[in-house]
């Protein structure tokens, strides 16, 4: 889809042509510059995901503060000098941490899903924001460029929940709470579990631990 490009690895540029299809929803406060006739409006409760999504976000802490960006012009988005990862969704389901979402096409739907049962102190990865539909979505990777890791039935993957930013595909996610993992995590963070992915898909992580 035209209109989305990276001006540098850390700045997302979106061209809006005034049509409904070019409109985006972006993280509140992520606009760093724009030109043209563009309006920024709070997407309201649930980041435009509707009342049900808003309620779930309130309960789960998987809050999503988005603004609707519409009009005709060019808008630059950036957050915390993080690297931007742009993904094309063609009916796939993206699971992502809400704080890592930078922008998404207005045509995409967002919701909150529950991904696990076992105790987690930070909540990272316990509830996740799902993005579905056809369009583009931009995620933020802190500490360096995002890392894409393929998961196949022969190659399961384990990741640090504090480095996890999102995943696409048919993946089963489980929590690993073994003792050895607990020792691997720094004293400062109280994490006691890791995320294990099996199935078929791609997992995205960042080089920095949140």
């Amino acid at each position: 889809m035209a209109g989305w490009r990276l001006e540098s690895p850390r700045v997302l540029v979106v061209d809006l042509d005034g049509s409904k299809g070019s409109a985006v929803r972006a993280a509140t406060g992520s606009m760093v510059a724009y030109e043209g006739d563009v309006s920024f409006k709070n997407a309201g409760m649930g980041g435009g995901g509707g009342l049900r999504a808003a309620l779930k976000q309130r309960v789960t802490g998987e809050s999503l503060n988005l603004m609707e960006v519409t009009g005709r012009g060019t808008v630059h988005f950036a957050v915390g000098a993080g690297y931007v990862l742009v993904l094309d969704l063609a009916g796939d389901v993206l699971k992502a941490e809400s704080e890592g979402l930078l922008a998404l096409s207005d045509s995409l739907r967002t919701d909150v899903t529950f991904t696990g049962l076992q105790g987690a102190s930070s909540g990272q990865g316990l509830f996740t924001t799902t993005v579905t539909g056809h369009g583009q979505v931009a995620l933020i990777s802190l500490g360096g460029p995002p890392i894409a890791l393929r998961v196949s039935p022969a190659t399961p993957l384990v990741v640090d929940p504090d480095s996890y930013i999102g995943s696409v595909g048919r993946l089963q996610q489980s929590f690993v709470t073994d003792v050895s993992w607990r020792n691997l995590i720094g004293e400062s963070s109280g994490e006691a579990f890791s995320l294990r992915f099996e199935g078929d898909g791609v997992v995205y992580i960042q080089p920095e631990e949140r």
């Binding site: 742009v86 890392i147 890791l149 393929r150 190659t155 640090d160 480095s163 992580i205 080089p207 631990e209």
Partner: protein
């Protein structure tokens, strides 16, 4: 602009990830000592698993005892063992691999991420630094790319990552600042600090590793080391120390 996914076939065996100075992949072939909290992902291979054992509860205790000679840091390290790829990251710091060939290298403890069992780790005489001896590979991080310089050189303590083959540094104080210090009334607060009066002075033959930024990490071991030394103090010294700590706290509150 989308990233090509990596998998165990395309991951490097011992290198930075493609176009990513901030993440490093190691293919495990033997035990690997790792600092906790630096592993961001791993692929166990062949249906097996990778075990990360604390140094205090490892199945390889005699190997660990002979290679890790630092009680102070033992709580922050684990031994990884098994088959597969391990990916490390360190708060957005540049990560580099170094080869040591029957050598010795001293590195800031917070910047050392991992080392293999060909190397032995000991505590340096300089607080907050660790010394590696032997032949093998290790991973260290730096804020920005590492700069290599040769002695004689004086460096800012905060920019120092480590040094190899040369004698441990001496502390050097700027001559002008020293003159002022000696001339001033004893104990008076000096208003002339430039922030650069304390330096490390390297002499002899070897290599000094510097980072391009002075961003410092909070090192929990500094406190732990001080705690250890407090136990050997007498009542008078403790009372004096209490006064110093109180005065410092007062300053922070203002």
């Amino acid at each position: 602009m989308s990233t090509q996914p990596l998998d165990p076939q395309t991951l490097p065996d011992h290198d930075n990830l493609p176009d990513n100075a901030y993440a490093y992949c190691v293919r495990l072939t033997g035990p690997l000592f790792m600092q906790t909290g630096r592993m961001i992902a791993y692929y166990p291979s062949g249906g097996g698993t990778i075990r990360f054992e604390p140094l205090t509860a490892t199945s390889m205790s005699s190997m660990v005892a002979s290679h890790f000679s630092s009680p102070l840091y033992s709580r922050d390290w684990v031994v990884a063992n098994g088959q597969g790829h391990v990916i490390l990251g360190d708060r957005g710091y540049d990560i580099n691999s170094y080869d040591l060939d029957d050598g010795n290298l001293t590195v800031r403890a917070a910047n050392l991420l991992a080392f293999d069992a060909g190397l032995e780790l000991k505590e340096s005489i300089i607080p907050g630094f660790l010394t590696l001896l032997g032949t093998g590979k290790f991973l260290a991080s730096s804020s920005g790319p590492v700069i290599f310089v040769e002695p004689p050189v004086r460096v800012d303590p905060e920019a120092l990552v480590g040094w190899a083959d040369c004698p441990a540094p001496a502390q050097h104080f700027d001559a002008g600042w020293m003159g002022h210090f000696l001339g001033a009334a004893r104990g008076a607060v000096l208003g002339t600090r430039s922030g650069e009066e304390r330096q490390y002075d390297f002499t002899g033959a070897g290599t000094v590793l510097l980072q391009s930024s002075e961003r410092m990490l909070e090192d929990p071991h500094v406190v732990r080391r001080l705690e250890g030394e407090v136990r050997s103090l007498g009542v008078n010294q403790l009372t004096h120390l209490q006064g110093v700590v109180n005065a410092q706290l007062q300053q922070h509150r203002q």
